[in-house]
Symmetry: D2
Subunit: 429 residues, 4 copies
């Protein structure tokens, strides 16, 4: 492998994506570029609604936002030959390479979306210093998905180059909207992994040191992201207070009571009302309120328990104040239980790499939530094996921080280990 050249390409891709960040279900420019490269490499492409069930996209922006962003993408470097596949915001891609030799189906998942964060312009912030800071206010790759997309393209390059040495089928899955755990479910529902024997998702950073690898990360919390709104009746607070139905107080009491949902004896829980917006004027009984709620649990069952309480409390609060309520699940992630069968392969590859100083087979450290867990559960349900691995990297600041940055050495490390795993897994028959 002429990996010097690959190393350069990885950095180039990552910085390009970094500079043009796109949030969930709007990764049109990114997807169009990804598609053009994969197409050139000889992968068979499925795109858009073919790989995403519209009914299971959670928290997708509305049409106006989607159309506006399409214009922006066209004007900011989207690949003109592919952009149309993604124009409605169904930005997922599945790239398949069939070796036409007997062998298992091995899949890799990469996520592409950015966050609604305003990137730092401090002189010491490398993306600023080196000229690839986000060109957009309030959008930033502050979690490393730019790196993930780049790693996916690097893996595709090596696979294409060496396809004669591989057996079975390889599927590269480029997923939209991992932030908010919104996109994976729609790809699962479109049967993207129904035929997969081995599945590997991965992430850079999340607490793992530079040059370390975790082959199986079981620490993800199951989660639900829930939007709740209350609709009451306005009236003049001085003249007719009794004629109003107070949505603000419904939301306030819902928030307080949700925060008090009982702990669970079988594992950790989390509940957060991250935002509350209510009312339209000081002297008007507030007729509307909106809450952004997030639940988590050590297991999907425990998260489900919290979510059920949230629902009861929303109903109760609405009853108390005679207001209507609407409850929409806009994101969801599961807990996971990595398969030793595939994790051990990653572990082996990491141990064999001369760039990796330490590999850990399994970790239970809590690491937020992930919707790759939907793919994992589906693969395992069908008798396949799945893992979630982590490639350590030195971080300039924590994930979701405006000064987040990675050590780019991790890009090539990840590509090589994933490629080696592909070699080993495609042979496992």
């Amino acid at each position: 492998m002429v990996n010097n050249h690959l190393a350069e390409k990885l950095v180039e891709w990552r910085r390009d994506f970094h500079q043009y960040p796109e949030t969930g279900f709007l990764e049109m420019r990114t997807a169009s570029i990804v598609a053009s490269i994969l197409d050139q490499l000889g992968f068979e492409l499925q795109m858009g609604k073919n790989v995403m069930s519209p009914d299971h996209c959670m928290g997708k922006p509305n049409d106006t936002v989607t159309k506006q962003h399409l214009e922006w993408a066209r004007e900011n470097g989207a690949h003109q030959d592919y952009i149309d596949y993604f124009s409605e915001g169904y930005t997922g891609i599945v790239a398949t390479l069939d070796t036409n030799k007997n062998g298992p189906t091995v899949a890799y998942r990469f996520d592409m979306d950015a966050l609604p964060i305003n990137e730092s312009d401090k002189p010491e912030h490398v993306p600023f210093k080196e000229g690839f800071r986000s060109i957009l206010a309030d959008k930033m790759h502050a979690c490393g998905h730019d790196a993930h997309t780049s790693i996916g393209l690097g893996l595709a390059s090596l696979i294409a180059e060496n396809k004669d040495n591989l057996c079975g089928r390889i599927k590269l899955i480029f997923q939209p909207a991992e932030e908010g755990t919104r996109g994976a479910k729609s790809m699962v529902e479109a049967n993207v992994v129904s035929d997969v024997d081995y599945f590997i998702a991965s992430h850079v950073g999340i607490g793992v040191p530079q040059d370390h690898v975790v082959a199986a990360n079981n620490g993800f919390l199951a989660t639900s992201k829930i939007d709740i709104s209350f609709k009451g009746k306005a009236s003049h607070a001085g003249g007719d207070p009794e004629k109003g139905d107070n949505a603000l107080l419904a939301a306030a009491t819902a928030s307080l009571n949700m925060s008090g949902i009982s702990r669970h004896s079988e594992g950790s829980t989390r509940i957060n009302i991250g935002e509350l917006h209510a009312g339209s004027g000081r002297n008007i009984i507030p007729d509307s309120a909106a809450l952004k709620v997030e639940t988590r649990g050590d297991t999907s069952d425990i998260n489900c328990y919290v979510k059920k309480q949230v629902e009861s409390i929303a109903v109760g609060a609405a009853t108390m104040y005679n207001v209507d309520y609407n409850l929409e699940v806009v994101g969801e992630g599961k807990s996971c239980n990595c398969s030793r069968e595939v994790a051990s392969v990653i572990h082996e590859c990491a141990q064999e790499s001369d760039k990796i100083t330490e590999s850990v087979l399994e970790s239970n450290d809590s690491a937020g939530s992930e919707d790759a867990t939907f793919f994992m559960e589906e693969v395992q349900k069908n008798g396949g094996f799945a893992t979630y691995c982590v490639f350590g990297t030195e971080l300039a600041a924590g994930h979701h921080n405006e000064q987040f940055d990675i050590n780019e050495d991790t890009l090539l490390q990840a590509v090589e280990i994933l490629y080696e795993s592909c070699m080993k897994l495609s042979d496992l028959n």
Copy 2:
């Protein structure tokens, strides 16, 4: 009239009742004595369930309490010939005198019950000093109903003595359980006032000075007394917190949200959660909670608005915590609108009395709640006329205070004015 003798009797009766106070639906000793006197005076008596609808007795003590009190009454001076009529706690009496001459039916209401208050034993407290302090801990005539019962007997005496000068029919209603506004409704439902043309209820004190009279008191707030209980599921707070259904938190959130029921633009409201008792141990998720709630409103409609909110909030709180709830109305009073037709008669009698220095036709001063309003509404609905008058008296301390005491001069004043009103009204045809 040989009113010197009557004045002595009034004091004697009042002090006897004062010393043996009986709370709502337990006025057995009192009622037996009242019945014996009225019987002797020649009134026709209806008693117990004949004048009280069991289905409409609110907040009646349970059988055990009732039986225990019956024993006490038998041992403490109840009249043996009459006590059996009241043994189940239906302690109401209607005493009728029919003149057999054409004329209207005129009714007077007197309440007989005491309060669960421990009477003062300070040397300056007259009932203590003069030896008629309550013989019972935690029971006391601290509102003046001892005086009312005595006045009722005095009025009966004068009427009996002078029945030849009267026309129509006179009904004297001795009502149990006015405290907590619990007893009147059951007598109305037993049709006690269906045939009444003129109705007069009265009270001593309540802010009116000695030797003053208010002929029409319209200041009563409509009220509901509501017991709410929540029943959840206990579990160990350390070991299985999620298995409990928390009744204490349901009660706490109900209390807070009820307190926030919106003001009403058309009049005053009140809401009080007077008591909350919940839980059975520090380390157990509380499975039970009980609230004592009271609502009030300037009008019956406004009170009804508050009561409806209370209900919604109870339902909502139960929904929030997945607990059952029970809501029982244990007392109710209405607002009132005194009839000028009968109030003016009282006003006239008061003005004619040489003992009264000032008579006010109508007052709107807020004066708590009263269930005589049930009688009044019923009489007015049937085309009759009703008023609620107040006989001023000098108070040693406020109503419901452990040092409450009246000026006994008021007894005779009240009897005479009521008797004079009876003379005038029985002639109004």
Copy 3:
């Protein structure tokens, strides 16, 4: 009087102000036009900080907003000779006419500000149909202050025309920022009414029918408008929930507990949390929250009681969640007690008018809140007399509604009655 011409001018002025609405402390275009007219009529003018104490302007917009609006005013018809007096947002004017004859000082107050409401563009809405709908989205004269300003100019015209028939001094006060009860206090603190003997404020509409007048409106509730903010500490809701200090929950519990502030036995109260905005993202412990609160009371004392509870609850909520809080009073109005001495004059003038079909001396109907009450209290404190009168008008929709509109006949009625009152009062010596 050639009132035909005046009637036309009144409509013209009113429609011009209606089309160019300016919200509180931004009435620059309006004030510049008012100043130019009054100047021309021969009134002596005091403007800006000379008649407004900067320290007592409540809820004044910040410099950026003020400067932006100045540009707009310059480009949209502000009078270039006067606009500079109001460039910092101190838009009050006091116009004085001294007859140099012995006599009292008589003052009239007119308010000039609009509301942040988007005016209707329905075909039946007269301002739309006749072409004088607001040119600005989200700003509208929906309370009638455009009419008040026009009436003030009409009154000035008549006074100027007839000054030889008047005695004493006449002061016309054009006040900014009545909405939110924010502007009057600053004019009182600048001693604008220290020398006033008779003071008259007025309003069109507020429930009074066309061709009716109320000479003394005592129904205003005292009020406080309070902005409360909580500042906590953000942290990741999944990873470090315990490191956050939750401002949203502080705001929610503050809202609930404020709503439960006890009723007052001496009069009506109101409490409304009109808006609550908290948090910055679903998965972040919310570090900020802002509440818009409004209290009212039948009297200034009762309002003060509610306000004090609001403060205690804000402190308590901040303590509970270890967050900082800030509480700012951004508006205040008092209750009022109109002086019979001046109300009777208005009543007389209304009775004498052939355009008015009914005049009511005094009304206690609740009619929201008003900061003219600051002027009234000050005048009465100094031994003067004050009233607040209402000129009935047929409304297309209620005050503060997007379809609000008046019957323009009321303009001339009001001008004539106020002028007649001026004649009578200036003679009262």
Copy 4:
């Protein structure tokens, strides 16, 4: 060892204690019997305030309760020669046997108190069937402390019998008031374990199966038991609501907000408001409220975090409602970290026993809270070693259940293993 006889004695003692259960700080009869036996066996005794710091007894009953119970104890079999040592409710005993040979100080802790539970009288309940059911309503050994006390006496017997084979000093600690984690701290503060090298606490049951042993139980949660009271001001809810300071609402809002204390990322937490009692009458603004609160945490630090939030919320609630508050810690337990050095000895002894089928060195299963952790922390702080072991037993029903009962075979098993550990440890020098 003639353990047949010992086995009988163990059952006899246990059943006697079972029949006469005494709750915390009232174990007078129990302690007097324990003292008499230990005295006879030749142990040197320290009792009462000599082994308990009065300032550190948490949640001790008041004098009246203590005196009443003393009477009961005297009349129900207390040993007359020893009862006086315990008459004030300081019921702890430390029995020391000094071998006068070089060697370590080895201590064993046994707890003696019962629970406020009404024991079952179902026919299948063995204590009922066999005639040793609690003679007291509402008191019951439902946790096994009767067994513990019996085991302590059995161990004492074997030690006394075999003292020539032992070295160093042996201390047997009989502790009051473990329920509610109230008694241990006072014994630690009286320096009862300052000189101890090896410390062993033990419990029967708590989830460990019959014939199994756990040598080191690390699963205890740190805990605080907190009584909170609020004192406000009463007033008439109808007449003067604004004059009251509402303690019930302070308690309700405290309860809700405490339940919402944030989860901790480093381990489990618990918060329970087990009881809330507030108010004195439906129509009175409640002037008093009392809460029974319990916090727990995986570690003492985490529990401390929860406790600190509880305090802030109590202060905040009091501030909101202008009421006074009082917060008293009435029980406390720590988390523990058993010493391998002593746990391994128990593990060895259990493995060597032919009655034990399985021994586990260490368990982290959550098992409520324990105040033996105070002794453990103190011993470890001074360089000693401590463990908490569990002797499995078949339970008729869970701990704290009215049908709780143990398999009495466990008594002798425990005595033998503890005795063997004593042999080994006293030799460890």
